[in-house]
């Protein structure tokens, strides 16, 4: 069977802000290599950063004994990023809507919203323990040729 995967890389990282920065920078580089345009690359990088912050801060609570796994897969039609933590789990249905009038002036709670705004698909999977976020951005036919 033909394998359409063009590249895949993954990291297991500490629960730290350095890890967040590394994951963000990797996302930016891979999105550029995948041929996304100059407006889309920062959006992908930001979405991935937000997912990494969620994993480090809300998932693992900076626990040095817990790790974050980030994987990047470029296929012929998509860039697929998976970020997982070892935290207590995240129920996406219980995340308040940051655009609701009662939440608009909250000082936090916009990360998942921005991820959804910038990616084409966002999926949550419970790992028991932990949560895996899958972020997908589709490539155009022109980008797929790179």
């Amino acid at each position: 069977m033909a394998d359409s995967t063009t590249s895949r890389v993954s990291f297991t990282l500490d629960s730290s802000l350095d890890s967040v920065n590394k994951i963000e920078q990797t996302a930016e580089q891979i999105a550029q290599r995948a041929g996304f345009d100059e407006d889309t690359v920062p959006h992908i990088a930001m979405a991935v950063r937000e997912a990494a912050v969620n994993a480090v801060l809300h998932g693992n609570s900076y626990d040095t004994n817990k790790h974050v796994i980030a994987s990047f897969e470029t296929t012929s039609d998509s860039l697929i990023i998976r970020i997982s933590d070892q935290g207590p789990g995240l129920d996406p249905d219980k995340i308040p809507d940051p655009l609701a009038p009662e939440n608009i002036l909250r000082g936090s709670g916009r990360g998942i919203f921005l991820i959804k705004a910038f990616m084409d698909e966002v999926n949550f999977r419970q790992l028991h323990p932990g949560t895996e976020l899958t972020l997908i951005k589709h490539r155009t036919p022109a980008q797929s040729g790179t």
């Binding site: 802000l17 967040v20 920062p42 930001m46 950063r49 937000e50 912050v53 801060l57 940051p98 655009l99 608009i104 002036l105 909250r106 000082g107 936090s108 709670g109 916009r110 990360g111 919203f113 921005l114 705004a117």
Partner: protein, 115 residues
């Protein structure tokens, strides 16, 4: 690159010229401390100049909102100046653009504060 703040006074308004990134663990704390310092010195009319902000994440957005509410609750005013396209778009997406009083000219911004 972390965030830097320069503070200056114009006609009784405290202008914070911010540069760099406003993100979790970097600029967020810096903004919080800077606004707190201004309020502690008795000034509550603050203009945040974001013209040299290269990047902001959800934590940074949250910190701007917190600064806005903190200053407002103290009876003051906090306004934003010189948004880059990236910051402008983020505030639009998060529906915060109309919450903040956003200016693109410093003199106009200064004169818009309540005397």
């Amino acid at each position: 690159m972390s965030m830097k703040v320069k503070t200056r006074q114009v006609d009784g308004i405290t202008i914070l010229d911010l540069s760099g990134r406003i993100t979790l663990g970097e600029g967020s704390v810096t903004i919080r401390d800077a606004v707190r310092d201004v309020l502690a010195k008795g000034s509550n009319k603050i203009l945040l100049n974001l013209g040299d902000i290269s990047y902001i994440d959800s934590s940074g957005i949250g910190e701007l909102v917190s600064a806005f509410t903190t200053v407002k609750n103290s009876g003051g005013e906090l306004k934003l100046l010189n948004l880059t396209k990236k910051v402008h778009d983020l505030l639009q997406i998060t529906k915060l653009y109309t919450v903040f009083d956003v200016k693109d000219d410093e003199a106009t911004a200064i004169s818009s504060f309540t005397k």
